[in-house]
């Protein structure tokens, strides 16, 4: 099939970017979206032009590196699907596809479709861990955790840190990302001990890094490729209020 691509090109963080149009012939419906971009880049390089820079690594939906705004939606038209898992069979011959990077003040553009998501690392460095030294752990089965709780903690822990939640939110809020980690640790006895300090530090860090407030539109949950629930945001809000109360 033949398609038209409208892709955001930007040389670096400082220089303003713009959309450029490309016509791509002979796209196979079996190609993944990123393989289609590989194909575009091959044709660009062979024509002596600069290829489009985009982030990717595992190409099976788990590393979280890829993340493109496709036709106005983070990761494209399918729910619970990362950009790398999207296949061209979802598009039709003659389609025009608009491809943009994540847009958020906290995620500056590096080049073309690649953005700097180190703000996510910074939030986790602020408190997204359990304080335990290597060698100090008790026998794993000495602390029992109900299956329901362990499964719930797992549901929160599946976040891949792609940033789609921020990209989807009209306020560029990182609430879903932060809440998933806060909730995972708060639910597990191992992390419960320091839950109060953790939520305060992580929320403070999130605010400092330029992410906006929760918009309450649930767009983050809708576009999260791992389907992480906004319930965790509610849980984080409770954790936060409780931690504030305890601190007084």
């Amino acid at each position: 099939m033949d398609i038209t691509l409208k892709i955001w090109r930007q040389k670096n963080t400082a220089i303003k970017g713009k959309f450029e149009n490309y016509t791509l012939k002979g796209v196979s419906p079996e190609m993944s979206f990123l393989e289609m971009l590989d194909y575009l880049n091959k044709t660009l390089i062979e024509a002596g032009k600069e290829p489009v820079v985009f982030e990717h690594d595992c190409r099976e939906g788990i590393c979280g590196a890829c993340g493109l705004y496709i036709n106005g939606r983070p990761h494209g038209p399918l729910t619970h699907t990362t950009t790398c898992e999207l296949h061209m069979r979802e598009f039709k011959d003659g389609d025009t596809i608009v491809v943009e990077p994540w847009r958020s003040k906290a995620f500056p553009i590096i080049k073309d479709l690649s953005v700097d998501r180190s703000a996510f690392d910074k939030i986790l460095i602020a408190g997204g861990f359990i304080n335990i030294d290597t060698g100090a752990a008790a026998e794993a089965n000495s602390i029992l955790i109900s299956k329901t709780l362990a499964d719930k903690a797992f549901d929160a822990a599946v976040c891949i840190g792609c940033g789609a939640c921020v990209a989807a939110c009209q306020n560029s809020s990182a609430m879903l990302f932060v809440a998933a980690k806060v909730a995972q640790y708060a639910m597990l006895p191992q992390g419960k001990v320091e839950a109060n300090e953790r939520v305060l530090k992580m929320v403070d860090s999130m605010d400092d890094l330029g992410f906006g407030f929760c918009s309450n539109t649930y767009a983050c949950e809708f576009d999260c490729p791992k389907g992480i629930s906004v319930e965790f945001i509610a849980q984080m809000n409770r954790e936060f209020l409780w931690a504030k109360t305890c601190k007084k």
Binding site: D57, E60, G64, A157
Partner: protein, 639 residues
């Protein structure tokens, strides 16, 4: 010939590690603060090592090519992590885990190292659980286990099909904790391009900053490589596209010997190639073989829909050939059996290069919900990629390049043949012999990183407490930087017409065909000639756009592909030298009457450690004899 000293401790197998630990030199806390350690790679091995070393008070600098440590390819490990807890009361023990790994590796691993990996396994599970890794649990609140290929007990801990992700994020959290404390500094988006050796000791690295293109120098008292495997040498593999051999290769060229390079695991259950532009093969976890049955039609070329083929016209060839282990035979055995059926014309799908993995019986026995609970994310992944629903029709699978058992040679202390250079996790060779058992890669990574390296590295660093901070203005750094820049300029100046990926694809095909699941002397020699030819073409017709002083993903690829040519040649050298079949290394000339691998313990019970002797020169092979004190070598039978 250089005598390789593996420094295996004396004493009974079960006491070696504890005796050794007691004898290792320590560094006092005040001195630790003065010592710097570079860790390259931030996967489960690198992140756990960095976290543990930071806790001890060393100054650690961590480098990775990804934008965040959380993306390292450990994240994609699916099925699980093994430990000898014996929570199932099914007869498991440290000794049995050791024996399974050693046997699974077809007796080509170092006995003492394998035992130690099994020995630290329980601590690994305790620690990861304490870090908040949400492993699957049973209704009573205890941790759950499942079974894996090549074993007869249930010892694998798991978090659905995302165990690697959860373990990595646990290790990443312990690394972040040290970043917060200031003991670890993260340098993401850096590619290590050279190792700097001063006075025979590893003292630093040269990296390219992938955002600015700048070549940077970083010094330390010791360097730890945790850079994973080189399975991407095949181009199409289950690995992340960025995974590469370059850091380990730089070390090899500076004097670190490379062991058993031809030992590469071909994983039996990957989604097959579906289109010509395919960039990656997605793994379907081995755990699926707990509930899935592998089959092909009894009649060659049967084009009927799988659901239309009645039971008596199906050949469950693994159950037929290996009744004792059935669908749970080790990976190398399952891969070759699939290839054998497809080569004989029984393969399914358009290309005939795939077999069925069928869940029909398990769904009928346990119900769809139970299968969903175990594998839902894998089933969804499969459906997204292929468009088929594995709940209603069998998956189609085929073997794919996956894991490299070979890697940098290390002694018992995990130190390479360069003083002060350590290699952990998949980047070393030590624990998996000629074939790795499922669920033992995560075990090795976390074991090396959290519990082994932090002990052994102190023995080396105790001798470095008087060494001042490494001066990156030293002539060795200067020379290394200039050479690195020259390599980049050479590639940038070719100005040819073909992309780096197109060369990589052709290079991978040559290796897959001639140094893949089945090898022969003739085929290997042919592969070598084809590689030579293609390498010449690469250096005369590579197209590289842009400049080296900005983001340039094509340059990153080209540098890696340049190294893959050399890696591929060493794989072939090694495969040619090993005139036996063992584990994943199957030489057509050496097989039993029933087509199983025929080992030759008399002549080949050794580790082949290759020494670089100069570009374009034949490398020299050194042997580390494998001495088995505790087990009797047996033919590896799963029948």
């Amino acid at each position: 010939m250089i005598q390789l000293d593996a420094k295996i401790p004396q004493g009974p197998l079960a006491e070696k590690w504890s005796r050794h630990k007691d004898a290792l030199k320590l560094v006092n806390p005040a001195n630790k603060k003065k010592l710097e350690i570079i860790v390259v790679g931030s996967g489960l091995a690198g992140a756990s090592a960095a976290g543990a070393l930071g806790e001890l008070g060393y100054n650690v600098k961590v480098f990775c090519f990804q934008d965040s440590p959380r993306r390292a390819h450990s994240v994609a490990a699916q099925g699980g992590i093994s430990a000898a807890k014996n929570y199932k009361n099914d007869g498991d023990s440290v000794y049995r885990l050791f024996l399974d790994m050693l046997k699974g590796g077809d007796y080509r691993a170092r006995e003492a190292n394998v035992y130690r990996a099994a020995e630290v396994s329980n601590q690994v599970i305790d620690h990861l659980t304490a870090l908040g890794v949400p492993f699957a649990r049973d209704y009573g609140g205890t941790l759950d286990n499942r079974s894996f290929g090549g074993v007869q007990v249930s010892r694998t801990f798991y978090a659905k099909g995302q165990t690697g992700q959860q373990c990595l994020l646990g290790a990443y959290s312990s690394l972040n904790r040290q970043v917060a404390k200031g003991t670890v500094v993260m340098y993401p988006r850096r590619d290590m391009l050279d190792l700097v050796v001063i006075g025979g000791k590893a003292r630093g690295i040269i990296v390219r900053n992938l955002v600015t293109g700048q070549i940077e120098r970083h010094g330390a008292h010791a360097v730890v490589l945790a850079t994973g495997g080189y399975g991407t040498v095949f181009y199409l593999s289950t690995l992340a596209l960025g995974s590469n051999a370059s850091a380990a290769w730089a070390a090899y060229k500076k004097g670190a010997m490379f062991a058993n390079p031809s030992f590469i695991q071909i994983h039996p259950t990957s989604i097959p190639v579906l289109n010509d532009y395919q960039s990656k093969l997605t793994l379907m976890s081995e755990s699926l073989r707990n509930d899935g049955r592998v089959w092909v039609p009894l009649q060659a070329g049967d084009k009927r829909h799988p659901n239309a083929i009645p039971e008596h016209e199906r050949d469950y060839y693994l159950e037929r050939r290996y009744p004792a282990f059935g669908n749970l035979v080790p990976r190398d055995v399952a891969s070759r059996a699939a290839k054998e059926r497809c080569d004989a014309g029984f393969g399914v799908g358009e290309t005939g290069l795939s077999v069925y993995l069928d869940f029909k019986d398990s769904i009928a026995r346990l119900g769809k919900a139970a299968i969903e609970a175990r594998y839902s994310n894998l089933f969804e992944m499969y459906q997204k990629i292929t468009g088929d629903d594995p709940y209603t029709q069998p998956m189609r699978i085929y073997p794919a390049g996956h894991y490299t058992m070979g890697g940098l040679w290390v002694d018992y202390n995990l130190m390479t043949t360069i003083d002060g250079l350590f290699a952990i996790g998949e980047s070393n060779f030590s624990d998996h012999g000629a074939n790795r058992l499922g669920a033992s890669s995560l075990l090795q990574c976390a074991g090396d990183g959290y519990f082994i390296l932090p002990n052994t590295i102190s023995d080396y660093l105790a001798g470095e407490i008087r060494t001042p901070k490494t001066n990156v203005a030293a002539p060795e750094f200067e020379k290394s930087q200039i050479e690195t820049q020259q390599r980049i300029e050479r590639l940038m100046n070719i100005k040819g017409s073909k992309t780096a990926s197109s060369f990589h694809k052709r290079l991978g095909k040559i290796l897959w065909d001639h140094c893949g699941m089945v090898r022969s002397q003739e085929g290997l020699k042919k592969g070598m000639a084809l590689l030579d030819e293609l390498q010449n073409e690469f250096y005369s017709d590579l197209a590289l756009p842009g400049s080296a002083t900005e983001v340039n993903q094509e340059l990153e690829k080209a540098l890696r592909v340049a190294d893959f040519f050399e890696v591929g040649k060493l794989m072939i050298e090694d495969a040619l030298e090993r005139n036996e079949s063992c584990g994943a290394h199957f030489r057509e000339e050496y097989q039993t009457a029933t087509g199983e691998a025929q080992r030759n313990d008399r002549d080949y019970a050794f580790v082949a450690a290759w020494q670089f002797t100069g570009s374009g020169q034949k490398p020299v092979m050194h042997k580390e004899p494998l001495v088995f004190e505790s087990v009797e070598l047996k033919e590896r039978s799963y029948a």
